[in-house]
Structures are given as structure tokens and as C-alpha cells.
């Protein structure tokens, strides 16, 4: 399992943290100086200050810190990317021609940079490594100098502005406003980051593997690039057909639903319609515990307890059961999603107006008749949406299937067979040694794209159902 870090940057990260601390110290000094300056002005009794003294301090501190942090973040992250591109000049022409060889060459250079040597490196590797080292030394120096200069410059600028007339409160509030607005874009940046990282790698994957082979292929058998290229006649070994993974994912999710829907739904009905306040107060938090248990614990439970149990029961009945059956993983996943269904359904049932129940009682129905024939139909859209959300949760769940469902990509609809899922394959491909740029590694990104499309699609679908069929009772 042990793996060398592929890329450097550890020492750089440390120096960035140190620089950030230096900036904070400058900002603190700037706060103090600006505040003292304005207090001095006041004690000299000139005129009324526009703002409270601490606003002048905050003005000084933010001018010293914020631009400097921006410079630090931008320069600190851009330089590695730049260096990687500059290194291409050192590679021999045939290496620089394609992306796979470039990545290998880059790894070679990085090994030399980190002082990890396998034999004598080629002269161009040596030259590239030396260049890299000198660039990173220069860049560290430039980074430190420019960050400190910007910070000090900001502090001096802030100090020069300090004056009883200066509207420091307004300035500080404007800065806060911008900081808040920019913070709120992080959510968008994250989404963009997710989409771009997955989409770009997927596009590269689809250059290597045709799109229709991926979507309609019936065999999933990823191989390392090396295995493909080594034997000239063995190009056909690796196949990337996602259908077995897709079927496995849905098989496990369906088993999970067979557990979670009846249990979750009837629990919700009982809690919402029959249980008294005290029972609710005890049972609801207990059910929530099921949602709070880490998935790795469920995975361990599935692999250690449930899978052998399922196997022995099945063999007692004379069936062949794989030791990592879809049934075991699905059962445990079902337990995990019970609270999602029960708490969402509980909310929906409670939202059905009491007047509908009273009307049913008035016509002489029993409590259960009212629930079955009036309350549940009224709550149906919400319940369906809850079930769809639970499915999307089950499809995205990773640890249970990694630990209990195994890796055999069988195309099977039999829950007693071993199947594998999209998430389990992503984890197996990306954990452990990996070749960047190989079709195998890139296939994980294509699978992630599939996963995002399915889960977001299901969520969107659930939202539409609620919107379309929701009854407005007022």
C-alpha cells in the first residue's frame, strides 16, 4: 500500500504557511499602528472622529492582510503548473509528443528532484531536474519577497489614509461585504471544480475508449496501459463497458430498497399517526443514530457479520451464495438508508392537514383506513421523492460496497452473486499505484461523471415530482 508522493510541494506548503503567519503578524502590527495613530489624533483634540477607533485598526489590518493573501494564494499555486509546462522544453522530441510520455517524464524528473534515484538518470532528466530546482528556489524567494512587500505596502497605504475625516467604518464594511460575497462563491467554485476535473479527464478517457463501448459495453475489465502496450497483439485485453457496474449498482440499491422502504415507511407512519409524544421523542433520535454511524462501520459489519450469515443461510437452503454477495451489501445499505426514508416520510405525513383525517373519521373510517385511503395518497408525491433521494444516496454510497460487495464485475441480476458497483470500481482504480494518463486511471473519472449524472438526475427528478404533484391545502 505504501506509495511515494508523486509530486513535490510539501516544503512549499510549509513555506506558504509560514508566509501566511508573517502576513498575520504584519496585519496585527498594522492594526495597532493605525489605531494608535487615530487615538493620538483624538488626544491632540483636533476634531470628532468619523468612526470608532477600532475601525481604523481593522482598516489597517485588512489592507495589510487581504491583498497579500491573494498574492500568496495565486502565486503559490500557479508556479507548479508553470514549471510543469516549462519542463516540456527539456524533454526529447519523441517524449514531448504525447501526454502519456510527458507524464512519465515529469515523474522521472520529480524523482530526481526529490533525490530518489534509480540508477543514473538520462542527461536530459538531470538537466530538467536542476532547472526545476533552480526555478523553485527562485520562485520561493520571489514569492516571499512579493508577499511581504505587498503586505507592507498595504499597511503603509492604510496608515497614510488614517485621518479623523477618513470614513474607516464605511471602508471596512465595504471590505466585509466583498469578503462575504466572495465566500458565497466558494460553493460555485467547488461545483465548477468538480465538473471540470471530472469532465476533462472523461474527455481524455473517451479519446482512448470509444463512448459507445463505455456506455453499451457488457464487459468491465480494466488493465494498466503498460499491459496493453507491452504485447503488440494484446490491444483487446482491457475493456471498459459500464453495463455490469451499472447493473451491480442497481441490484444492490434495489435490495437496499426492499429493506428500507417497508421498514422506513411503516416506522414513519406509526411515528406520525399513532405514537405518543414520548415514544416519538425516544424512537426518532435512535433511528437518527443509524444515519450517523460512519459508513466504514457498516462496511465492516457487512463483511464480518452479515455476509457470512447470508452465505450460511443460503447454503443451508441449498443455494450457491458468493461470499461477497450483493444481498449482504444491499441488506446493510438498506439499514443505512432507513432513517432517510423514515424522517423524510415522517415530515411529509405530518404535513397532511388534520382536516383531511377528521373528514375521514367523520365518515366513520377507522384510523388505519384514514391513513391508508386518505393520508397516504395525499402524501404520496413526497414519499416517492423521499424514496428517490434514498436511491440516490444508495448509489453514491461507497464504503459498504467496497468492503462487502467485492470487485468481480459480473453481469448478473441474481442478488446471491458477487457484483461490483460504480463507486467500488472508482475506489479500487484510484487507490494504490496509478499511472496518470492511462485509460484505467481515466476510466475512474468517467465513472465519476456517470455517478454525478445519475445522482443529480435523481435529485432533480425527485424535486420535479414534488413540484408537480404537491397539493396545496390552504
Amino acid at each position: 500500500m505504501f506509495r511515494r508522493p508523486f509530486f513535490t510541494g510539501g516544503s512549499q506548503t510549509v513555506s506558504m504557511i509560514n508566509l501566511a503567519l508573517v502576513v498575520l503578524v504584519i496585519a496585527a502590527a498594522s492594526y495597532y499602528l493605525c489605531q494608535q495613530a487615530i487615538l493620538r489624533a483624538r488626544s491632540q483634540g483636533a476634531q470628532k472622529l468619523h468612526s470608532l477607533p477600532h475601525y481604523y485598526g481593522w482598516w489597517g489590518a485588512s489592507m495589510a492582510a487581504i491583498p497579500a493573501f491573494c498574492v500568496l494564494l495565486i502565486m503559490g499555486t500557479v508556479d507548479d503548473v508553470l514549471f510543469k509546462n516549462w519542463l516540456v522544453e527539456f524533454y526529447p522530441a519523441d517524449v514531448a509528443a504525447n501526454a502519456v510520455d510527458q507524464a512519465i517524464a515529469f515523474a522521472k524528473v520529480m524523482n530526481v528532484v526529490q533525490g530518489i534515484l534509480f540508477g543514473t538518470p538520462e542527461p536530459w532528466v538531470q538537466a530538467a531536474a536542476e532547472a526545476y530546482l533552480s526555478w523553485s528556489e527562485t520562485s520561493a524567494m520571489v514569492l516571499a519577497l512579493s508577499v511581504i512587500a505587498v503586505s507592507l505596502g498595504g499597511a503603509v497605504f492604510a496608515y497614510s489614509k488614517v485621518d479623523p475625516e477618513f470614513r474607516s467604518r464605511n471602508a471596512v464594511e465595504r471590505i466585509i461585504l466583498w469578503v462575504l460575497a466572495i465566500s458565497s462563491t466558494v460553493a460555485i467554485l467547488t461545483t465548477i471544480g468538480i465538473v471540470l476535473s471530472v469532465v476533462f479527464e472523461s474527455i481524455r478517457f473517451f479519446r482512448l475508449v470509444p463512448f459507445d463501448e463505455f456506455v453499451f459495453g457488457l464487459v468491465w475489465n480494466p488493465q494498466f496501459e503498460g499491459a496493453e502496450r507491452a504485447g503488440s497483439g494484446q490491444m483487446g485485453i482491457a475493456t471498459y463497458g459500464m453495463i455490469p457496474l451499472f447493473v451491480g449498482t442497481f441490484l444492490i440499491s434495489i435490495v437496499a430498497l426492499f429493506v428500507a422502504v417497508p421498514v422506513g415507511l411503516f416506522s414513519a407512519i406509526y411515528l406520525a399517526e399513532y405514537a405518543d409524544q414520548r415514544t416519538r421523542g425516544i424512537v426518532k433520535p435512535l433511528l437518527e443514530i443509524l444515519a450517523g454511524v460512519p459508513t466504514v462501520v457498516y462496511g465492516f459489519f457487512a463483511a464480518l457479520t452479515v455476509a457470512p450469515f447470508v452465505k450460511s443461510i443460503g447454503e443451508g437452503l441449498g443455494l450457491t451464495v458468493a461470499s461477497e454477495s450483493a444481498l449482504a451489501a444491499g441488506l446493510v445499505m438498506g439499514v443505512m438508508i432507513i432513517p432517510f426514508i423514515s424522517s423524510l416520510a415522517d415530515d411529509v405525513i405530518n404535513a397532511v392537514p388534520q382536516a383531511l383525517r377528521d373528514a375521514a373519521y367523520g365518515l366513520g373510517s377507522t384510523h388505519s383506513e384514514a391513513v391508508r385511503q386518505v393520508v397516504l395518497p395525499a402524501a404520496l408525491p413526497g414519499i416517492v421523492a423521499a424514496i428517490i433521494l434514498a436511491v440516490s444516496r444508495a448509489i453514491g454510497e461507497t464504503m459498504i460496497v467496497v468492503m462487502a460487495a467485492g470487485l468481480a464485475a459480473n453481469l448478473s441480476f441474481n442478488p446471491l452473486d458477487a457484483v461490483t458497483t460504480v463507486t467500488a470500481q472508482i475506489v479500487t482504480i484510484l487507490v494504490g499505484d496509478q499511472e496518470f494518463e492511462s485509460a484505467k486511471t481515466l476510466s475512474a473519472f468517467a465513472l465519476a461523471l456517470l455517478l454525478i449524472v445519475i445522482t443529480l438526475g435523481l435529485n432533480f427528478f425527485a424535486l420535479q415530482i414534488v413540484k408537480k404533484y404537491r397539493e396545496q391545502y390552504d
Binding site: 509530486f7 462575504l180 467547488t190 443509524l290 454511524v293 466504514v296 459489519f301 463507486t423 475506489v427
Partner: protein
């Protein structure tokens, strides 16, 4: 009312119809309630089963067998340089001394096979343990003192009864001779069953008897530290902006849809993003708590934003109006009045988000926190692992004793999670205000 065209039932007919079916309807009612109760019973039964499975394995995993033997702390053999430094002790004969003390305790076996059988009794970490003992008690050097060593995991599982005497010797992991020695030791009362110190103070190890969660626990704390440092300010700032400042326009609507979508993205996808962006593009090292914390922060951000917005919304508008009325600016209103009142709700949401982050495994596997790392991480840029990932790795090891160790680690993880969730509940109950 529309006219009733069908003839209505007479009261007698109606009563008789109702009475015909009332028994069946009532029993259906009882059955329905019974189904509801059994559904709850089933769900709680799963919960009990889960905890029972973890605790029956995990509680014994908190303990292990030790053997206490008299060791002659011979200075010349143990401390060749004579300065009692760690370096000197490691160059000495600690391992031989420990073994010879064991031979003495079981009556000095002579033959090669017997000695080999005896050697398997002590854990391979015994020399380190002896050195640590000397470093802690330098005053005892030169004397013969009782020292407590861990038993090898095979012997430990024999003492727990997982390895049966009845199994033929060839199928057993330990030989008859070894069993005879172990019997002699336990007859002398040298073997004790105590709370495992390796579990809490040991680092990652392939030997079940020495494996511990210290490194993973520290890694978890560092990762959570980074996570909270990023997620809490960003989450609160976003919530304040969206609730208090932002105009309701297309842009803020996009942000809101985004946040809801992010909450639905599977956690493993966040790991893939971390791998692609922070490790491949930005060139940050793998396996470090810094990257892990950033990824978990982005993952928990939606949880924190959503609960913070709810908390801000719960602050009544009259508070804002009062503040604005006495001349506070918009920002003063928010930071001096709204935020302090909304803080309990925000903290509750943050604690729940952190509990979620603490139990998360899949995204951290993606960024390489699954490496086998013996050193305890000292800072957020040292390679490390976290508790759930440690559990995942141990769950893969085949030895019987690792099942118990894994369950014990799960108990520790659950204890943390339950504490955090209980804190959130208490906080909510204590600071909750009704307007």
C-alpha cells in the same frame, strides 16, 4: 347539495351492515398498528444488532494479554555506550536480554526447537518495550526487576480460546511445545489480561498485538482542525451573505441551487475533485491532513450553510429593526445582533457537519490517506491517516486479532461521534430561544 337519487339505507340496515364488517375492520386496524410497531422494532433491532456485533468484538479488543517476567537489566549488555541514550540502548542487546529472561521464566529450555517455540511467545516489539521501560526508569538499571511484555498475537488468540488445543498440531499456528510453555507461564501467574496500551499509544503496525490508533487519531484531529478552520468561516459568511445582504436575483438563485446540489453529490466525488485539483494540478503532496481537511471542508460546507441559514432566519426581524432604528449600520446589525443570536444554531450545524467529516472515509482514500504510515503526523503537512481509514485498512488484514482491534477502533470512533452529537443536542437545548 345534490339531490340524493338512490334510496338511503334505513338506520337498521346501516347498523347491521356496519356490524357485519366492524370486527374485520377493527382487526385490520390492530394489524396495521402491529405492522408499524414491528417496523420500528425491526429498525431498532438492526441498530442493536450492529452495536452488539461491534461491541462483542470490540470490548475484548480494548484489552490484551501481557506477560510479566523478571529481567536482569545488565548495564553492559543493554547500554554499550553507557550514557542511557536512546541511540545507545538501540545498539545494545535488548532483544537478547528480553528473550533470555523469558527462557529463564519457563525453565531454560535447551534444544533449538524448544527455544524457537519459546521465542514465538513474546511480541516482536519486546525490545522496544524494554528500551522504553529503561528510558522511563533509568534508576532501575543494574537490578533484576519484573517487566511487562505483550504476548504475540497468536498466543493472545490462544489465551482467548480462538486457537483450540484440540486442533491437530499441524493445523494450528502454535506448536504443542509453545502451548506447554504458555501453560507454565500462566500457572505461575505471569500472564495478565489488561487494558491494551498499544491500542491507544501504538502506531500503525502489521503485528496485531502492537497496532494502535495513535497516529490515526492525531491525523483525524489535524484533518478536522483544517476542516473546521475552512468550513466554519466560509459557511457562516455564505449564510450571512445569502440571508442578510444579497439581493434576490438570478445570481443568488444559482448559488442556492448549487449549494443544494452539492449536498447531494456523493462524497467519493469530492475525493476525486481533491485528487484532480489539489494533487494533480496544484501539486500538493498526497496523504497529508491539509488536503484531507480542505476536501472534507468543501464536502461539509453545504451542511453548515444550510443550518446557518436556518439559524439566521430564526432571528426575528424586530431585532434587526431595533438595531437599525438606534442608528446601527447594516454590518453592525449583523455582527453585533443577528450573528450572536444565531450562533448556537450555527454551532450545532457545524458540530453535526464535523461529525460527518470525522466518519468519512471514501474521499480520503482518493487523496492517498490510505498509505501505511508508521510515524505520527506532527503537522498538517506530514503524511498521515485518519481513524475511519485506519479501520478500513485493519478490516482488510486477515489475522483474527485484527477483527477485535478493528472493532475496538470503531468503538473509539463511535465514542467521539456520540460525544459530538450529544454536544450538539445539549447546545441546542441549552441555547435555544423561543421568540
Amino acid at each position: 347539495m345534490t339531490d340524493v337519487t338512490v334510496r338511503g339505507l334505513t338506520p337498521e340496515e346501516a347498523r347491521s351492515r356496519v356490524e357485519e364488517t366492524i370486527a374485520a375492520r377493527n382487526s385490520r386496524e390492530v394489524r396495521f398498528q402491529w405492522i408499524g410497531k414491528s417496523a420500528i422494532g425491526l429498525a431498532l433491532g438492526f441498530l442493536v444488532l450492529l452495536f452488539a456485533a461491534i461491541f462483542t468484538n470490540g470490548v475484548p479488543g480494548l484489552f490484551q494479554h501481557y506477560v510479566t517476567i523478571d529481567v536482569n537489566l545488565d548495564r553492559q549488555r543493554l547500554d554499550p555506550k553507557g550514557d542511557l541514550s536512546e541511540e545507545s540502548l538501540y545498539s545494545g542487546e535488548a532483544e537478547r536480554v528480553a528473550l533470555e529472561s523469558l527462557y529463564a521464566a519457563i525453565g531454560n529450555p535447551e534444544g533449538r526447537t524448544e527455544r524457537r517455540a519459546a521465542r514465538g511467545i513474546l511480541s516482536t516489539g519486546s525490545s522496544q518495550r524494554l528500551i522504553a521501560f529503561i528510558l522511563d526508569n533509568p534508576g532501575l538499571v543494574g537490578q533484576t526487576v519484573p517487566v511487562k511484555f505483550a504476548l504475540d498475537d497468536d498466543i493472545d488468540s490462544f489465551m482467548r480460546g480462538f486457537i483450540s488445543r484440540e486442533t491437530p498440531e499441524a493445523d494450528r499456528r502454535i506448536s504443542d511445545t509453545t502451548i506447554a510453555f504458555v501453560d507454565r507461564l500462566s500457572a505461575n501467574g505471569a500472564i495478565s489480561y489488561e487494558l491494551s496500551d498499544y491500542l491507544f499509544f501504538g502506531s500503525a503496525s502489521r503485528d496485531a498485538e502492537m497496532a494502535g490508533i495513535k497516529g490515526a487519531l492525531i491525523g483525524s484531529i489535524l484533518t478536522l482542525f483544517v476542516c473546521i478552520l475552512i468550513a466554519f468561516p466560509l459557511g457562516v459568511a455564505t449564510a450571512v451573505y445569502l440571508e442578510e445582504i444579497a439581493p434576490k436575483n438570478r445570481w443568488t438563485e444559482i448559488i442556492e441551487i448549487n449549494i443544494n446540489n452539492l449536498a447531494a453529490v456523493p462524497s467519493v466525488v469530492f475525493g476525486i475533485m481533491g485528487l484532480a485539483i489539489f494533487i494533480i494540478i496544484f501539486g500538493m503532496p498526497r496523504s497529508i491532513p491539509l488536503v484531507g481537511g480542505i476536501v472534507l471542508a468543501l464536502m461539509t460546507l453545504p451542511t453548515i450553510i444550510i443550518s446557518s441559514r436556518a439559524a439566521i432566519r430564526a432571528v426575528p426581524p424586530s431585532i434587526r429593526d431595533a438595531a437599525l432604528g438606534v442608528g446601527a449600520s447594516k454590518m453592525q446589525t449583523i455582527f453585533h445582533h443577528v450573528l450572536p443570536l444565531a450562533m448556537p444554531g450555527m454551532l450545532t450545524g457545524t458540530i453535526i457537519g464535523m461529525a460527518q467529516a470525522l466518519g468519512e472515509t471514501a474521499p480520503l482514500l482518493m487523496i492517498g490517506m490510505v498509505a501505511f504510515i508508521v510515524d505520527v503526523p506532527g503537522s498538517v503537512t506530514d503524511p498521515g491517516t485518519v481513524l475511519p481509514v485506519q479501520i478500513f485498512m485493519w478490516a482488510d488484514f486477515a489475522e483474527r486479532m485484527f477483527v477485535q482491534k478493528t472493532s475496538a477502533a470503531i468503538i473509539v470512533l463511535l465514542a467521539f461521534l456520540i460525544t459530538m452529537n450529544a454536544a450538539a443536542i445539549v447546545l441546542r437545548k441549552k441555547l435555544e430561544r423561543r421568540w
